[in-house]
């Protein structure tokens, strides 16, 4: 008999939280209410839970800060501003692949040029390096892709002419010497 009471108390205590919250159905409420009338320990447990809830409820609420709404409406205006910007056509991505391609082309061109240059001997190399230095000192060449392209063509022409004068090559290979 004692074992039955212990089991019953265990089941009742598991339901005390829901009983306290008024979330049991009518039958469940009746069973718990009747049990609490007879069982001192469960009644004590219920009292503890009730008082505990009361203690927790008494925690002071915090007040919103004085400028809470001002900050909120500021965020609203900022978000509305960002939405206008988002609706504009997104062209910022466009130059990046184009610039990347341009940089690859320039690096390939210059690398190819220097590879050829080193293959042609020290004197020619010194001549071309001096010319490169002079052109870098000149205005805008490193920054202006078209000027840089022209400069590369001029160096290529100089290399071609030098190759012909040194009898390394029998004909113009740059296509510019013959035009002059």
């Amino acid at each position: 008999m004692k074992g039955v009471i212990v089991v019953k108390c265990k089941r009742v205590r598991r339901k005390l939280s829901a009983y306290l919250d008024g979330e049991l159905n009518d039958k469940g409420k009746e069973i718990i209410t009747e049990h609490l009338k007879e069982c001192t320990n469960c009644r004590k447990e219920f009292t503890i839970l009730s008082e505990q809830d009361e203690l927790v409820t008494k925690l002071e609420a915090i007040e919103p800060s004085v400028n809470f709404r001002i900050r909120f409406w500021k965020k609203v205006r900022e978000s509305e501003g960002k939405e206008v910007v988002k609706k504009m056509p997104r062209l910022s991505w466009l130059p990046v692949p184009v610039m990347s391609l341009l940089i690859v082309i320039i690096i390939s061109y210059v690398s190819g040029f220097y590879f050829t240059l080193y293959a042609k001997g020290e004197n020619l190399r010194t001549q071309i390096e001096t010319q490169v230095l002079e052109n870098f000192i000149a205005s805008a060449h490193p920054l202006n892709p078209i000027s840089l392209l022209n400069f590369c063509n001029e160096c290529w022409e100089a290399l071609c002419r030098r190759a012909q004068s040194q009898k390394v090559s029998s004909k113009c290979i740059c296509g510019r010497c013959e035009n002059q």
């Binding site: 598991r14 939280s17 829901a18 919250d21 979330e23 503890i48 839970l49 008082e51 505990q52 809830d53 009361e54 203690l55 927790v56 409820t57 008494k58 925690l59 002071e60 609420a61 915090i62 007040e63 919103p64 800060s65 809470f68 709404r69 900050r71 909120f72 965020k75 609203v76 978000s79």
Partner: protein, 196 residues
């Protein structure tokens, strides 16, 4: 017969362009929401930021708003999701009462006063009790803390809590049972002395 609750009517009016209706929603819910989030994450200023984020989302969704659920359920669901995100970023103050407090001068061991020896008449002791209770609530696991806050402070039914937390009603019952048992272990020395 009134079909829609007041908050839904306010939201629908705001949707039609009556901005004053949104102010009324703000006025009604700013304090409860701040407190709900503060009791969940333990940081007052972060609670204000998150509350503003909740209202910002409500504001932005006005154009497409449809009253599919009770307004407050929807509001607290958004707040709950933001609290969970905040927790995932590791910013939630879940503390152990045994952890020392780190200060510039070094560590201070947290001392819980023996409140059974003190009468609750003075404001200092009242503040200490409040801090102890607040710390006990913050030390609960997140889901238990959320369920308890929604039940005790917001007076939400188990059904509403289940919709906000995205779990079953029996899971809510279980969360609240375990939350209260955990609190009982931490606050038993206070019960019976200061319930007046």
């Amino acid at each position: 017969m009134k079909i829609l609750d007041d908050d839904i009517e306010l939201m629908l009016s705001f949707q039609k362009g009556e901005k004053s209706c949104f102010e009324k929603i703000l006025e009604k819910y700013e304090k409860p929401l701040i407190n709900f989030i503060f009791r969940t994450i333990g940081d007052r200023w972060a609670a204000e930021d998150l509350t503003q984020e909740v209202f910002l989302r409500i504001y932005r969704s006005a154009a497409t708003y449809k009253p599919l659920a009770k307004f407050s359920t929807w509001l607290y669901k958004i707040a709950f999701d933001l609290c969970i995100d905040h927790q995932r970023k590791g910013k939630v103050k879940t503390i152990s009462l045994n952890d020392p407090i780190n200060t510039e001068e070094g560590q201070i061991i947290r001392e819980i006063p023996d409140l059974s020896q003190i009468t609750p008449d003075t404001s200092i002791e009242k503040r200490q009790i409040s801090e102890t209770v607040q710390a006990a609530v913050l030390s609960l696991p997140a889901n238990q803390r959320l369920a308890l806050t929604l039940r005790i402070y917001e007076n939400k039914s188990y059904q509403e809590i289940s919709k906000i937390l995205g779990c079953s009603i029996s899971a809510v019952e279980s969360l609240l049972f375990r939350a209260r048992q955990n609190l009982k272990q931490k606050l038993s020395f206070l019960i019976g002395s200061f319930s007046d």
